[in-house]
Symmetry: C2
Subunit: 389 residues, 2 copies
Amino acid sequence: MRARFVLTPDEIYLNGNSLGALPRTVASRLAEVVEREWGESLARSWTAGSWFSAPERVGDKIAAIIGARPGEVLACDSTTIVLAKLLAGALRARPGRKVILTTSTNFPTDLYAARGVARLLGSAEVRCVEPAALVAELDETVAVLSLTHVDFRTGEMFDLPGLTAAAHEAGALALWDLSHSAGAVVVGCDEHGVDLAVGCGYKYLNGGPGAPAFLYVREEHQDMIDNPLPGWLGHEAPFDMSLDYRPASGIRRFLTSTPAILGLSALEAALDCWGEVTIEQVRRKSVQLSELFIAALEERLPGVFELASPREPERRGSQVSLRHPEARMIVAALAERGVIGDFRVPDVCRLGFGALYLSFTDAFAAAERLVAVMESGAFRQARFARAGP
Amino acid sequence: MRARFVLTPDEIYLNGNSLGALPRTVASRLAEVVEREWGESLARSWTAGSWFSAPERVGDKIAAIIGARPGEVLACDSTTIVLAKLLAGALRARPGRKVILTTSTNFPTDLYAARGVARLLGSAEVRCVEPAALVAELDETVAVLSLTHVDFRTGEMFDLPGLTAAAHEAGALALWDLSHSAGAVVVGCDEHGVDLAVGCGYKYLNGGPGAPAFLYVREEHQDMIDNPLPGWLGHEAPFDMSLDYRPASGIRRFLTSTPAILGLSALEAALDCWGEVTIEQVRRKSVQLSELFIAALEERLPGVFELASPREPERRGSQVSLRHPEARMIVAALAERGVIGDFRVPDVCRLGFGALYLSFTDAFAAAERLVAVMESGAFRQARFARAGP
């Protein structure tokens, strides 16, 4: 799969959990969409071509990666918007319950979205607790348990099957943010009874900067949960231009506006490689890569870093997070040596392993260069420049 | 300007109000973004490059076209989403008032968005009246007057200065949907005291299929109106990863998620031509084109069509809508003769004049071909295929 990605020679890209590397098929696919579908066929591409069905078609390709069935996933909007949609939908689907239960370790925008929705609805509230307290807090007031599956800072992976079951036992819906999971770990939405999920298109799915997000609504819930931000493309008959909103059946009702075709086309091209590789294979390679990297550091730099990620691979996503008081400068010094990682406040070096395009040599060389940075003290002179969201 | 667009020889494209034609600069700009900014610089393009500021930078270019000041416009999300954001924001900025006043002729998705927001907020309601009743309905219960400036079906243009003033007199905010105005007619947001506006990037702004939308918030309102769908990119300090949302100052607080860079890049490239042409020039040409077309039909096909658009150019946007019981088949027969228009239920031929790329010859030839279709009765045999949103 590595040959399918554009990679800079002698650079080791450990930031694919921020922005995935560029798949080679994207440029030509986009050129075709722009020059032929837009330039020549123009608006006819909406129906004569492939545009109208793009959100569902791309959604089905993502469904295969997160263990969902065809017709359960839609690629659209942005992650925070789809999260707000499903949170509001979930609250309305559980009348009499008013709490969104989440953790204080959640990705901040997930908290902003939850509080924003609670404020819009007036009667709802966000209960924000430590991860260890989640099960105890799952009571009859909780409408939806909203968690990010893999922690953006530490890479720690929640027990998705167990917490989903616990939510159900308490009569709540389980909504998972799969931003750091989709394309990286085995999720199994259907197998584990996940009710709702959202995720990001530009991390391990390699859809490009600001790629469309995705939302998942379990098939049996689709008629029970409303789209709180209805729009004409989610209408049963968009071109009837009816004054009354009648939701489409199935997943399409969660669509709001005209699909972002350029972003969807890049994402779709990026998903093509998944026809030849399974998420189980990618996960296996990811575990091997991060294990190799951690083992090398344990041997060469014992005690230098605190491992912020779980040591057991089954509790770890596809990233290795290292705590160090000089984390910011270490990330900068690594970048000067061609190892691109990311820094997260206050003290985390975040190194993501995009297993579709990284080799064992990459993982080993990254560890070697980190050893060189630490042993030489080079990080004390490095110049920091943030790599991006 | 015509030379800057990709146009199919012998085809006359009168559907630019659905999807604008392809500007020649888009393909090369997108290739640069994909191959160099994404492929080589990767996540570093967020800060070292131009990505992070794209929503405001593109917004400023749109501001110049709609008569807004720099820092008043943001390019982001989709039209229905930004409309929902500003409607909810407007309702909260006018506590004690609960009505969204709009018309039953509004674009349906604007009504769906308004009702969606009213339902989310619980206490709000949508009052939907005939255009002629608007001023009488502007009472002390109205929080926001939400209108589409140019009617999608007829091309009729509301009196934006007069209705904005009437809204203010009643203590309401005025929110204008400029989807069929931006890039087509002179809007003058600041001059006329418009409070809020939204619009579409893929019609007369030529940003491509599903291009990002835009929102306008008058400078003096920006600290008074909340973003009801807050997200990390609208945070004062996104990379602090703070658990508490503190809105950025200025227009940026209305941002929610990571910007859609591919769509924004195409839209930005499409906006480049506006450095050399003014909206006043484009509007003058648009009026000349549609006047020529209407005059030709009045002379050659008297009484055949009912002109659904106003006859006075100052009350008409950049489209000519013709009513005819066989409208659907007439649009199809025109397409067979290389004139691409659009059909809208139940009986409207909708012909948009993208004045940046259409010539007088185009307008004249389109009329000639319509005459041929009607005189030959060819439309009775045509095969209809919808052109798209």
